[in-house]
């Protein structure tokens, strides 16, 4: 693993909108750079100045605490000026209004916009209207690329590699942008992806994304290396996806009994925020031998520092510096 960060990466794109379509070299480039920030973040002095003079705006059309904080911290540790803009989703009527917002922000000459939006595809739409770099901080049920990268970094640091691992993603796949980004990343990097969920929480034809589908936790968890639990996104559910929390937990909640099917050293991950007693048993979530949930949060800051740095480097290289 790299200990000295390279100053040019293998990622040459202007934006980071999603994992789908990235190649293994690009992903590895992003992960390698992230790696270099993990140690720095553990020092007393965490501050660098590579983004000195740069402006980063976090534009969140959807509530978020951890992702926004993580990006804010990442930008500040690199010496950039970070501004948070939270736009209540109800006050924005999409379409033209979103584009108007993009134009307004663009006029302020930011270097990077970090955008989260409740509608799938909205971040891409916005990215087409601005001159700066855009990072997708999560769009609807589509993608959440920095989450997949931080998950990959967590796994890679624990296991040394991603290829050949068997990863089970469990729970509310249907509403999860985290699941989609992870499916793309893990497949691209040569891991095997299993999905475990009730049929109602699986998107149509999801097996075509290169996954193996299970309806039973014990079958799906058999001999897996990594277990990724997902939050049940009840705020996105309209109607009958499962009958009750107790039935959901009975069949799909991760407890020690179901965990017994996985490898003894299988790691447990969760993108947060957790619903204890819904998708995951409290004891399992807090099991320091198995759960890497806190580590994921730590890796999140390093990954976002790397993304911000690389995208601003690319801006310079492209000569698309603010006019």
């Amino acid at each position: 693993m790299n200990t000295v960060a390279p100053r040019t990466s293998d990622y040459h794109q202007r934006h980071l909108l999603g994992i789908e379509g990235l190649n293994p070299v690009e992903i590895t480039g992003l992960l390698d750079r992230s790696e270099s920030y993990v140690e720095q973040n553990r020092q007393v002095n965490k501050k660098k100045s590579v983004l000195s003079g740069r402006t980063i705006i976090n534009v969140f059309f959807e509530d978020s605490t951890r992702t926004r904080t993580s990006f804010e911290l990442a930008g500040k540790r690199l010496g950039g000026d970070v501004i948070n803009m939270t736009v209540s989703s109800s006050s924005v009527k999409k379409g033209e209004t979103l584009i108007d917002t993009a134009m307004t922000l663009n006029a302020m000459h930011p270097d990077v916009l970090v955008v989260r939006h409740p509608q799938s595809g909205a971040v891409q739409l916005l990215s087409e209207k601005v001159n700066c770099a855009v990072i997708n901080g999560g769009d609807g049920e589509h993608e959440h690329p920095t989450q997949a990268l931080l998950d990959a970094l967590t796994i890679r640091r624990r296991r040394g590699h991603l290829d050949g691992l068997t990863v089970a993603i469990c729970g509310d796949i249907l509403h999860s942008r985290v699941a989609r980004s992870n499916i793309h990343l893990l497949n691209t990097m040569g891991a095997r992806v299993r999905l475990i969920a009730p049929e109602t929480l699986l998107p149509t034809d999801v097996a075509r994304l290169g996954t193996e589908v299970f309806h039973n936790m014990k079958d799906g968890l058999r001999d897996v290396d990594i277990i990724m639990m997902l939050r049940l996104q009840r705020e996105r559910m309209h109607g009958n996806f499962f009958p009750s929390i107790r039935e959901y937990f009975h069949f799909f909640g991760l407890d020690y009994e179901k965990l017994g099917a996985a490898r003894d050293d299988a790691l447990i991950m969760h993108p947060g925020p957790m619903n204890r007693g819904v998708e995951i048993d409290s004891e399992v979530a807090d099991d320091i031998g198995r759960s890497v949930i806190r580590e994921q949060v730590e890796m999140g800051v390093a990954v976002r520092m790397a993304c911000l740095e690389i995208l601003t480097e690319n801006l310079d290289a492209d000569g698309r510096e603010q006019r």
Partner: protein, 436 residues
């Protein structure tokens, strides 16, 4: 009813043994021991029955698997004034039925684990027919939220249905099929588009027009059947249609099966033995749900039974007391009892030459057991000793006094029929015996 020492083996000799599962149709004997079938065959008792066994000479009559009724409303809990597990159980064993699957349209609704366990425990205590419950697809049968199908199945529900009510909302049916697929469970639908059937009293057509009654069009059935077939295509779920009554719906199922979809269906005796003319002068015992249809529809049901499109025959037993039936036709409750006449009316298909005896028995034993994955419906070594001895030719008349259900609302009231169960054995216990 006779109760005998259960520890003593029973040797049933000189029987015509018919077992649709194995295709067996032989003259021979069956040995019952320890609640199970210990042996069967043409030469089983060549050296005489085992010492200490109770010997029953079947005198050449048909010994068939205990009959399985896959759809009956048993009244408990909540409708005890119309029927109880005890009265329906006595009617069932008198009709040769050893296994009943009951509907969740009770009060309280069978939509939680305690309801499932209540029925099973009560029936076990009575020791008549075995009773397995359907549980509700939607909580409180309200057609809005899916019930806890997974945990209900673990508690013993054999399949899921809203019973007397259709699952009307397409999205709910989609989710139910999809969610049930998670656990490999079967959904059973009462196929009727409710907005077309609302307020109707009988089949739409000339008879309804003459009688001045609001009609339920046969399209109400096929519209729901075709919609649900599409939802099975979408979800890959398993679906069963109850009591099909119309030409078009049966044809829709026939085509869907050809396309390889996991769809099954049943019908009930009124739909192949009666037509809308039975309503006559406002006979409320002939008011059923779905309504009795035209003669052409009746013949289509017979054809569906003959070519295997219709998988099984269920009694569709629905007891109604006098207060519910002695009313102006439009106000009377729908439904008829049928658990005790399931066998003789099904045997009409044999007596009329539509089906051979083995096929007729198959439709009310092995087939429903297969659809619901029940440990029943076959005569085989090691299987539960659930057996029915039938006098195929015995004539009798369906009357209030011959029917043992608490309610007497049979659409076949007054009908001469042929064939009856003379002995019924459940888990090696003789629970019905009219040996004469």
């Amino acid at each position: 009813m006779t109760s005998r020492d259960t520890t003593r083996p029973i040797a049933l000799t000189n029987a015509r043994i018919i077992d649709p599962a194995s295709g067996l149709d032989i003259r021979g004997g069956v040995l019952v021991s320890e609640e199970k079938i210990a042996g069967l065959g043409e030469r089983l008792f060549d050296t005489g029955p085992p010492d200490g066994a109770m010997v029953i000479d079947c005198r050449g009559r048909c010994l068939v698997p205990g009959l399985v009724d896959m759809r009956a409303h048993l009244g408990e809990p909540g409708d005890e004034h119309k029927e109880t597990l005890a009265t329906s159980g006595r009617a069932a064993v008198a009709g040769g039925v050893t296994t009943i699957v009951c509907l969740p349209n009770t009060d309280p609704v069978i939509d939680d684990m305690s309801g499932v366990e209540f029925v099973a425990r009560r029936a076990r205590k009575l020791g008549l027919s075995k009773v397995y419950p359907y549980a509700a697809v939607s909580k409180n049968l309200a057609g809005e939220e899916i019930a806890e199908l997974g945990m209900l199945a673990e508690a013993g529900a054999v399949a899921f249905t809203d019973g007397l009510f259709p699952i009307a909302d397409a999205q709910l049916m989609r989710r139910a099929l999809s969610y049930a697929k998670t656990f490999g469970l079967l959904i059973a639908q009462h196929p009727e588009e409710p907005s077309l059937a609302r307020g109707s009293a009988m089949n739409a057509g000339e008879t309804a027009t003459r009688l001045g009654l609001a009609g339920n069009p046969s399209q109400a059935e096929v519209i729901m059947v075709e919609r649900d077939i599409r939802l099975v295509e979408l979800t890959g779920g398993r679906l069963h249609f109850a009591h099909l009554s119309t030409t078009a719906a049966i044809e829709a199922v026939r085509q869907a099966k050809r396309r390889g979809l996991d769809i099954s269906c049943d019908t009930a005796p009124p739909y192949f033995a009666l037509n809308e003319m039975a309503v006559g002068e406002y006979r409320t015992f002939a008011k059923l749900s779905p309504p009795l249809r035209t003669e052409q529809d009746r013949q289509a049901v017979v054809d569906g039974l003959k070519d295997g499109t219709i998988d099984a025959i269920a009694s569709d037993h629905l007891p109604q007391d006098e207060e519910s039936k002695r009313l102006p036709f439009a106000e009377a409750a729908a439904g008829g009892i049928g658990i005790q006449t399931l066998l003789p009316i099904t045997l009409e298909l044999y007596h009329n030459g539509h089906l051979d005896l083995m096929s007729a028995i198959d439709l009310i034993s092995r087939q429903p057991a297969r659809l619901l994955n029940l440990p029943a419906g076959t005569i085989a070594r090691g299987a539960a000793a659930d057996l029915t001895l039938i006098d195929v030719d015995k004539g009798w008349i369906v009357t209030e006094s011959t029917l043992l259900s608490k309610s007497k609302n049979s659409p076949f009231d007054g009908r001469p029929v042929q064939g009856r169960a003379v002995m019924t054995i459940v888990d090696g216990r003789i629970v019905h015996d009219v040996e004469d």
